[in-house]
Symmetry: C2
Subunit: 332 residues, 2 copies
């Protein structure tokens, strides 16, 4: 099925006029970059010079405000993510790029195979506009759908992020399972790992359904990484400068704990956390104080054991149970 996004041309025009913008920086995630030509035309039609920022655009946390200012832009158009409330020093418009594909049919097919009951409903911002319709459809099948309110970094009820699963956690205790609609495995896996409830994940584009109901494999793999990390003596504390990931306060706390535990610590700062510099620096293990997704999804790519902050605290005996990393205001 075609990926069809709402690029909200009229809202962009109003924003540019409102702020009298002559030169605007544009941030696009990989999947939206092919729309650069039409966005350039839209801006040119308003007499606005478009500056496309070619760096990463992984989330609203990855806000290229500094790059936009260095490029002399007066405003920033950030596509593909919902505002997570970061403070900004120039006007920023978040164009969420909602997908137009209706997930209801795929959800109904997936739900047909499930025992009706209390079900938490979660999704990503690309599909969140269909949440009421999905809830209605599930109700019509006899389910009792529950939608949790947004957390500190999410904007909509039912929306989940890798670093903020509040909308799932807040209803997790009262549901038998979750239904996730959206693309990718990372978000539904996070909901399952964080709540312990089975998750039925429905991809509205392909119609594919996956059931996630065991965290044993995941936990075994992470405990193996933790065991390897425990053996390292030169330990990296790696923190990203991306505005919504720059948890320098947490990084310093972790560096102190590691030194108290007798490790040699090297603090590393990067925009994107890539494996090569960490290996070049001679690190034997590291904790990733950035996006929670990096150590979990990219583990094999790294060639050294890379922990999340809660995994390190567990390893150092400061916490008792395995928990997923989540980004808190007190980390900054």
């Amino acid at each position: 099925m075609r990926e069809d996004y709402d690029l909200e041309e009229e809202r962009v025009r109003r924003f540019l006029r409102l702020h009298g913008v002559r030169r605007a920086a544009v941030q696009l995630p990989e999947g939206l970059r092919r729309h650069a030509g039409e966005i350039e035309e839209l801006l040119r039609g308003e007499g606005v010079e478009a500056l496309f920022l070619a760096g990463s655009c992984y989330g609203a946390c990855d806000l290229a405000e500094e790059e936009a200012k260095r490029a002399g832009a007066e405003a920033l158009l950030h596509y593909g993510h919902a505002d997570m409330g970061l403070p900004t020093s120039l006007p920023v418009l978040f164009v969420e790029a909602r997908m137009r594909v209706n997930p209801v049919e795929a959800v109904l097919r997936a739900a047909g195979g499930e025992e009706p009951g209390r079900v938490g409903v979660v999704t990503t911002v690309q599909h969140v506009g269909f949440l009421p319709e999905v809830v209605g459809a599930l109700s019509s099948l006899g389910f009792r759908p529950q939608v949790g309110g947004p957390g500190p970094r999410t904007r909509y009820a039912g929306q989940v992020l890798g670093c903020d699963l509040t909308s799932a956690l807040s209803v997790g205790g009262g549901v038998e399972k979750f239904l996730y609609f959206g693309t990718g495995r990372f978000h539904p896996l996070g909901v399952h790992l964080a709540t312990g409830r089975p998750v039925v994940a429905v991809d509205p584009l392909s119609g594919r359904v996956e059931r996630m109901d065991s965290r044993e494999g995941f936990l075994r793999e992470r405990r193996a990484v933790m065991a390897r990390a425990a053996e390292g003596s030169l330990f990296g504390v790696v923190v990203s400068t991306k505005p919504g990931q720059a948890r320098f306060r947490l990084a310093r706390r972790l560096a102190e704990r590691l030194r108290e535990a007798g490790k040699r610590v090297v603090e590393v700062v990067a925009d994107e956390i890539r494996p090569e510099p960490l290996l070049d620096l001679g690190l034997e293990a590291a904790v990733c104080v950035a996006c929670p997704r990096i150590p979990l999804e990219d583990a094999r790519r790294f060639g050294l054991p890379l922990l999340t902050p809660p995994e390190l605290l567990l390893l150092l005996g400061e916490e008792g149970d395995y928990r997923l990393d989540s980004v808190e205001a007190s980390d900054f």
Copy 2:
């Protein structure tokens, strides 16, 4: 032969004490990253917290001042390059990391096969300390060595950079050939292309000698790239935000010229210029307003014709002769 660098520990200590630094950012090029452990120890011995910046460190132009400030550092130690005089807003120490290997023997062997005469002598900052000794040795063989003064971005007589070949150009008219001592092919090739004089390149580590005396192959290849670029209708003007590469004024001039020539122009801003975003944005050709080395050395990697600014001006009929890109104060 072992690569052995002078990391100037005592000068680093004095700098840290002078500025009362408690938290210092450290920038290392790839080849020096394995020294992170000893640098961390050196700083710890002074009671200074070391923050290793894991981004690129391609030259003094690639000064990670903003990243250092975002990381809360009070000073920046930049290793591997000579100061090119960029303004900075926090104390910066350039540790040039001179190589200890003496090039004289390799130079004498290479020069033995050459007809004595007037020879320009050029090198990179890693070896520039041996310039007087090399000049003396060449004189003893009957050569008349010429060393040009530094340019706007180089710091030492005889030093060349990919973006500043002044020390070669200023003596090029009065010499029969050049002798380059140092690693890599890019700098001696630049000297040959810019001056038209043959260059004898001597690698002090391997002892390897290469003679560069034909620019026909290079020019043929670049003219082919220019011909392919001429066919593109969606043209990128790609500029880097690295402080010493951020030639935004030149970029705007080139974008105007391209529009006057009937091209559709997309302006792109990046820290590192990588091929994927340019292709994702749908560009059919681009001009690289960043490090002059990128379009020349990385051409095949890019998958789209990537021009230097002078190549674009030649293509648009604004200049008559092929010349290498060099970075000028008026570009910024």
